[in-house]
């Protein structure tokens, strides 16, 4: 029991996490490539045509997983931020920092693909309904987080200040998620529900889940690769980094 605990703390130190991150990154990258390739093949060639939307609906195989990831990554970042504030661990802030660009990218993809779907289906590129507006706010929160980090020179102040911003922004996540239930929005409700039958064809559902898992693997791979560079940059004066032969000169 106690040795387990020690192991955990061992990996919370950047020096021991650095090589581990590489292994995780490579493994996830392989998984991501496979899953996304399979997922895309299924979305274009295997999944049946929708009875109403025809072929245009296929964009949801990117749109829905991207939207989920954009919200989920934010929650993960906020959890790291809270951990960093409470335990004063350096690695948690680095993890949040490494995840941010990926989260912002998914928020952007979600809005972009949604817009492409909305034009033929709804008849408009953009509406200011609650779901779409709150997702846009999420994108702004990601950008604000990255801007705040970049503006603060002292890394420790940057960690803590941006962590507070992340925690403040968490309010937005349930608003995005429940907006379609709380208000009569143009955006449809959730197809995949926790407490009711899924109103989606099985093949479509499987395709979507494969894409989602692929996006997960992608996010992990990219975040781990990025956290390695963040660790090197932040720990450049530490002796273990110098021993790697990367710093200096």
């Amino acid at each position: 029991m106690s040795s387990r605990l020690i192991n955990w703390f061992k990996f919370s130190s950047p020096a021991t996490f650095y090589p581990l991150a590489r292994k995780i990154s490579v493994a996830s990258a392989v998984i991501a490539v496979v899953l996304i390739a399979v997922g895309l093949y299924m979305s274009f060639f295997v999944a049946p045509t929708d009875y109403k939307q025809g072929e245009g609906y296929r964009i949801i195989f990117v749109h829905v997983p991207a939207s989920w990831m954009s919200m989920f990554i934010y929650l993960v970042m906020a959890a790291w931020a809270a951990m960093g504030l409470v335990f004063n661990t350096r690695l948690s802030a680095m993890m949040a920092q490494a995840l941010a660009p990926t989260g912002a990218m998914f928020a952007f993809i979600s809005l972009w693909t949604g817009s492409f779907w909305g034009k033929p289906m709804w008849g408009t590129w953009w509406v200011w309904d609650a779901r779409i507006t709150s997702e846009l706010i999420l994108l702004f929160l990601y950008l604000g987080y990255m801007a705040l980090r970049a503006a603060i020179d002292d890394p420790r102040r940057g960690d803590r200040a941006s962590a507070i911003l992340l925690l403040v922004g968490v309010v937005n996540i349930p608003i995005i998620y429940y907006s379609v239930q709380w208000w009569n929005t143009l955006h449809q409700g959730s197809t995949i529900k926790m407490n009711a039958e899924t109103t989606m064809d099985e093949t479509m559902l499987i395709t979507m889940l494969i894409m989602t898992l692929g996006f997960w693997a992608y996010s992990i791979a990219v975040a781990m690769a990025r956290v390695r560079t963040v660790i090197l940059e932040r720990e450049r004066t530490a002796s273990w980094v110098r021993e790697l032969g990367l710093a200096g000169s």
């Binding site: 008849g123 009569n184 929005t185 143009l186 409700g189």
Partner: protein, 152 residues
């Protein structure tokens, strides 16, 4: 000790205030915060008389008529209880069809016809292949799965 009591007091006041906030939100959600109005609400006079608003509902089966030589379309939007006549001239979205959900933005004109300036199709959260849809249609289960058929 005293500081701890103080902190406890702050927490109690804070929780009470958050409760009040939740009550106010629920109170607000019962009001007219919706993105659109249903035909029933229009019939009850809840929609603004002299102002742009959004009307949401289903396009009634067999109600769509097109004027020859122009883009003007006339149809009826219904929520199964009440219905409103709509006139629109412009390009309709792909998903626009009889029995499908729509949201029209515009204002009430004379003769109680809703003059739409923009018509958007409201999609539901159901995805299935056409064969399945046909089968459901034949067995008469389509309505059950169609969330749009409940009053919006």
């Amino acid at each position: 000790m005293k500081a701890r009591h103080k902190r406890l007091g702050i927490i109690v006041v804070g929780l009470a205030a958050l409760g009040l906030a939740a009550f106010l939100v629920l109170n607000a959600l019962e009001g007219n915060l919706s993105y659109f109005f249903s035909p029933t609400e229009v019939a009850e006079g809840k929609a603004p008389a002299d102002h742009i608003f959004r009307l949401g509902g289903l396009v009634e089966q067999g109600s769509v008529t097109r004027d020859a030589g122009s883009l003007t379309v006339k149809f009826v939007v219904t929520d199964m209880a009440q219905s409103v006549n709509v006139a629109y001239s412009g390009i309709l979205p792909d998903l626009f069809a009889e029995g499908q959900g729509v949201i029209a933005q515009g204002r009430m004109g004379p003769d109680n016809v809703f003059i739409a300036e923009e018509v958007l199709a409201k999609h539901d959260e159901t995805y299935m292949p056409p064969e399945v849809a046909d089968a459901l249609e034949k067995s008469g289960k389509m309505g059950e799965r169609h969330p749009g058929s409940k009053p919006l």
